[in-house]
């Protein structure tokens, strides 16, 4: 009897707790789908691309805006969020944040201070995509109106990942990993025609990749066919010929304290017009050139860890210098022709 009464008391207490301090209704939240960050004067301009939940309903015609942009000038994203929360009737919620778009200026100055906030924020997913915009992120987000998508969140997820050809994509967790392990990563660069009233799917383009090292954009790559071939299974275009790899590339590293030689073996299937010799030379030139720009395209820092037993020994090597002066040897083996 005593035990039953105790259990009853606990149950009653539990119901009292259910009122909880954190109780939030869905209609009190403003769901942020994308954030744009750019420089203005000495501060930053934060654009919050917030979903208009009403436009998803069956009564909606589908033509109207599916999202609204709110712009806030502040020193950092935390202050911007707090200030905007005071102005609008709802509370900003980042649990559906799909992408964070930085302006080129900000990306060159350093993105880590903003990324740290998003990494700390429990509701922001590590899979959130990062991109750099060659046009103003505020104007891009304000004019963006993908007509095929009812939910703009899906647009951001698909535009970077579900394309048939190789497009660089960078996640929040990949940025953090690269930042702290001192490796490089690639971010997609968005360009769009902001002279139009609306930016539709066909009006924006992701053809370039930005090299991110130590949280900063250090170079932009126009033609990343070789990176696409190494990093993905998707087909790439080389001087009009379509190339697709059949197996993951094989790397061989010869490492000493003053020299680094990297051999890459790629098995590919191609079209008729593929010039193997010039492709190998172009790839080697691309790797040498990008290594000088601090792009560790083959992720040497990570791959050579296999050669070490102790972290201390690994840290004795000056990889910045080694990568800058590295020698690359690329070999293509054509296994079959594309049908």
């Amino acid at each position: 009897m005593q035990k039953i009464s105790l259990i009853l008391i606990v149950c009653v207490i539990c119901t009292l707790f259910s009122g909880c301090y954190d109780n939030e209704e869905i209609d009190t939240l403003a769901t942020v789908m994308a954030v744009g960050i750019e420089k203005q004067d000495k501060q930053k301009l934060y654009t919050f691309y917030i979903s208009d939940a009403g436009s998803f309903s069956s009564e909606s015609t589908g033509d109207g805006a599916k999202a609204k942009c709110f712009v806030q000038k502040a020193d950092d994203v935390e202050t911007a969020t707090q200030q905007l929360n005071k102005k609008i009737s709802k509370k900003l919620d980042f649990s559906h944040l799909s992408s964070i778009i930085f302006s080129e200026e900000i990306s060159k100055a350093g993105m880590n201070s903003d990324i740290v906030f998003f990494e700390k924020y429990a509701s922001v997913r590590p899979q959130t995509l990062l991109a750099i915009s060659s046009v103003s992120p505020t104007q891009y987000l304000e004019k963006l109106n993908p007509s095929l998508e009812v939910n703009p969140e899906k647009y951001f997820q698909k535009v970077f990942t579900d394309t048939e050809k190789y497009v660089t994509n960078l996640r929040l967790c990949d940025f953090t990993n690269a930042y702290y392990t001192n490796t490089t990563c690639l971010a997609p660069v968005i360009s769009a025609d902001i002279g139009r009233d609306k930016i539709e799917e066909t009006d924006s383009n992701i053809s370039q990749s930005a090299v991110i090292w130590k949280g900063k954009n250090v170079a932009t790559l126009d033609n990343n066919w070789f990176l696409g071939l190494m990093l993905s299974d998707k087909s790439v275009d080389y001087n009009g010929a379509e190339i697709e790899r059949t197996k993951k590339p094989k790397f061989d590293f010869k490492l000493s304290k003053s020299n680094l030689k990297v051999s890459i073996n790629l098995k590919v299937k191609t079209d008729d017009g593929f010039d193997k010799k010039s492709a190998e030379k172009d790839a080697e030139n691309f790797l040498t050139e990008s290594a000088r720009n601090m792009l560790d395209a083959v992720n040497v820092r990570k791959a050579v860890k296999r050669l070490f037993l102790l972290q201390k020994k690994y840290e004795e090597y000056n990889f910045d210098e080694l990568i800058k002066n590295a020698k690359f040897n690329v070999k293509f083996s054509v296994v079959s022709e594309r049908s």
């Binding site: 035990k3 301090y21 997913r125 590590p126 990993n177 392990t181 296999r306 037993l309 102790l310 972290q311």
Partner: protein, 349 residues
Amino acid sequence: MTNINARETHWLFVMLILSRITLDAVSVFVKNSGTAAVINSAFGFLIAFALLFVTDRCFKRSSFDDVARDVYGKFGQKIFGFVFFCITLLNSVRRITMFSDAIGDFVLTASPYAFILIIFAVCAFVTALLGIEALVRISYITGGVTVLLIGIIMASSLVEVDITNIYPVLGKGRISNVFDMLYVYSDIVYLYYIKNSISGGGNRTFVNPLVKSAVVVSLVTLFYTLCVPYPVSEKFSYPIYRLASLSNTTVLIQRLDGIVFLIWIFSGFVSVGSLVYFASQIFKDTFCLKDRKGTLPIIAFLVFVIALIGGGKWNCADGIISAFAFGVLPATAIIFKYKNRRKKCKKSL
């Protein structure tokens, strides 16, 4: 003390050990040895096994109090018991603080710290009041569920596994502190306190819970090391939460962060409840009290107040309980056996 089933009791200790792994144990391994965290955890298991094996052989069927009385004398036993009570109280404070911090940081972010502490303190009080029988039965149910949930988190983070993250294999190449390595298993010390009331399960009662939990501990450590590269892996206080947030396997299996909350609730309530129970039991046995339940409100209140005042300043508790479980206890057990052997020799002469 009432008789309890060995199979159910094993799960209580598995839950106590798992409660550490759901908090900071993996990050302690990573901070100590970098990419060799899994080797660190495996070594920890082997040393813990060896020390517990020695303790078990020396203890045989003698009770905890008998051993203490035999080794330290009547007054010494009281002091030994009181020290053990203080350590258990500190351990409860440390555990309640860690769970409240974790839940406050990730789930009830707007709730005051004291509010979360109250929930845990009330729950610990009620569970301890219901006694060991209720505790082991709850553990038997929640233990399996917790292991399953941890398994789901690991399976869903498989896509993030990168084998190069485990290199250099020997990591920092050093074992910094043996007690840091063992502290994850230190709660098994309470098994010796209730050993005589466990029915069935054979002589080596510690083997089953230790092996079960060591498998989970090593697997979680391995997965975390494979999914998060060093030194990024040092940055996260709750590795299991990081693993869950990385999960993105299919449309159905993603955003498993919520599962971690369930794990925290299960392991948090069971571990804090059982530690408060053990504290009251130790106090009762040491000072020969008639009623254990009378001390419970004071102990629960003490745990709440110390946790509220101290906040996160009780990190020392981990080292202390570890030193007691794998230093003081085996030493006491060895002295006990040595004394017993001398007594037998004298008798035979």
